[in-house]
Symmetry: C2
Subunit: 112 residues, 2 copies
DNA sequence: TCTTATGCATAAGAAAATTATGTATACTTG
DNA sequence: CAAGTATACATAATTTTCTTATGCATAAGA
């Protein structure tokens, strides 16, 4: 992300969430999907994306499968069973985090 | 924050926002206020809080004033004029960020 | 031909937390 | 009255997670 500076620790969660909806995606596709959904406001850099994908794979959350399309290699990632559970947990945590942040930003909500 | 691990780069914004509402606050008070608003879910650590306050002060966003209460020192922080503008900007940025994050977490919102 | 797009990857550095300390006073509880 | 908890500040070492820079490679468009 260059426009708003930081993904603030939510990149792994975003990836897991996208994979939960899409069965399988490759790295470049993820960057484009995020850009599309956020109307160009989130730009995931490769330097952040690939290390995160590799880490999630090393932790057993993702499995990979390589395909050659148009003479270019695509590395597809999918959620493992463990990754599916982790996605659920992480998304719930992030939603909880966002709610609390909103309470701080909009004091009225804190008194509901 | 120990419960949800990371403040994810939003600590400075939270501080600025609280000071925008409260005129002046001291460090410990900020930690307690955040804990209170988030029902104990955000726990700001001193290791994160104090360096952030010092940085904001060094940048000219905050001014300080020390008071002795009950034989204990309190260092009160207030927004400078520049800090007030910065608070506005940062809060707007964070809100924008949250909206985009919600689009990613709730795909239906992306198609509004 | 040169730039942009597609596609992966890693390394160096910076930013922003956590964890662990350290100092000091006040209150509570067994 | 001793020990733990709360109040109040501060810094250092470490870790996590980004950005920026670089590298390789193919394809499409100007």
């Amino acid at each position: 992300m260059s426009s708003s500076k930081l993904l603030k620790g939510s990149l792994a969660t975003i990836i897991l969430k996208l994979l939960k909806e899409n069965e399988k995606m490759y790295g470049y596709e993820i960057t484009q999907r995020v850009k599309e959904i956020t109307a160009g406001e989130f730009k995931i850099t490769e330097g952040a994306l690939y290390p995160t994908l590799h880490k999630l794979e090393a932790e057993g959350m993702l499995s990979t499968e390589t395909q050659k399309v148009d003479n270019r290699i695509r590395k597809y990632y999918s959620l493992t069973k463990e990754g599916n559970a982790e996605a659920q947990t992480k998304v719930a945590e992030l939603e909880e985090f966002l709610l609390n942040l909103q309470k701080l930003l909009n004091p009225k909500l804190g008194m509901g």
